[in-house]
């Protein structure tokens, strides 16, 4: 069960990276990042289940506390990305990342 959740998490990370690398629209990239973020959280939580879970009937609480923190910080990061995206759009009237070449050399 834990292996299944962990595999799902890894797949989600890969999907997120794929989306972030191939999309040019900044909003789509942000969505892809949140998908990868969810995948990371899933992997950490899946790591918390000991082998003798039925016998122990208790799960490692430390990764869960860590993921609780990670989710909240993830929301903050997403909000910041959205705010900067808005500023970028206001400046150039486009969301295409390839149009932002000011730092390119």
């Amino acid at each position: 069960m834990a292996i299944l959740a962990m595999a799902t998490g890894f797949i989600l990370i890969l999907i997120g990276f794929y989306g972030a690398l191939t999309n040019r629209n900044i909003l789509r990239m942000i969505v892809a990042f949140t998908v990868a973020d969810t995948g990371v959280n899933l992997v950490i939580v899946a790591n918390a289940v000991p082998a003798a879970e039925a016998a122990a009937r208790i799960i490692d609480p430390v990764p869960q506390a860590l993921v609780l923190t990670a989710i909240v910080i993830g929301v903050g990061v997403t909000a910041l990305m959205l705010a900067y995206t808005y500023k970028l759009y206001e400046k150039k009237r486009t969301l295409d990342i390839t149009k932002f070449t000011d730092l390119k050399w």
Partner: protein, 232 residues
């Protein structure tokens, strides 16, 4: 095209690393020392039925204070970035009025959602849930209100007052712990009570309620700031 090829190549590499991790993964046969300590001692030391809450609020309470600070900073920066050079509100465009269903539904549901949020953070030490989750639920109620009327303006003073007050009280309770109990953010300034009762686990329900209010206020600020960009 070549870019997409390199992206896929990179993904295949990362996927190979992940596959290696997955194949080599063996779950621990039993809880490690830290987890064992928390599992064994929480009920006696903290009196909280929810071990994750005990870790977040008391054992690693300082980290949670830092986390709330990070969230506050994120909300403040979103406000700063979005407010800079913001034009005065353009004349309100005629917009299609929202449907009857959404309007009535949000009027009916928003108070219930907020009540659920309060329930979640008040019971944070008993059931899965807590301040962060409850705060997010409260903010989702605010989001529903914003969806109904995108031009609605929440009272920023009220939200800011709730946020600052709960933050100050949070730190004050933490400082009380130094003088009355074992250290900063120690929950034993109040009696621990019986495990599983609503008024148990010392100061944890109070601290988590304050965190819930603070997180709800911060998320609401972010939502209100983002929705103020509507006129673009």
């Amino acid at each position: 095209m070549i870019k997409r090829f390199f992206a896929l190549l990179l993904l295949v590499g990362i996927g190979a690393i992940f596959a290696g991790l997955l194949v080599g993964y063996e779950p621990d046969p039993e809880l490690n020392t830290t987890a064992r300590y928390y599992a064994d001692r929480t009920a006696a030391d903290i009196g909280s039925a929810n071990i994750v809450t005990a870790i977040v609020v008391t054992y690693r309470g300082l980290d949670t204070l830092g986390e709330v600070t990070v969230l506050f900073l994120a909300a403040a920066i979103v406000g700063l970035v979005l407010s800079r050079g913001r034009k005065e509100h353009a004349a309100k465009r005629d917009r299609t009025p929202v449907g009857e269903l959404l309007r009535t539904g949000s009027r009916f549901l928003a108070p219930l959602i907020m009540l659920l949020g309060v329930y979640v953070f008040v019971n944070g030490h008993l059931t899965p849930g807590g301040g962060f989750q409850g705060g997010a639920v409260i903010a989702s109620g605010m989001l529903l209100l914003l969806l109904t009327d995108p031009l609605k303006h929440f009272s920023h003073t009220l939200i800011a007052a709730v946020e600052s007050l709960s933050g100050i009280l949070y730190v004050a309770i933490g400082l009380l712990g130094i003088f009355l109990a074992g250290g900063f953010l120690d929950n034993r300034i109040l009696p621990i009570g019986t495990l599983g009762a609503l008024f148990s686990a010392g100061a944890i329900p109070i601290i988590y309620s304050l965190i819930g209010l603070k997180v709800g206020a911060e998320f609401s600020t972010i939502l209100a700031d983002l929705s103020d960009t509507e006129e673009l």
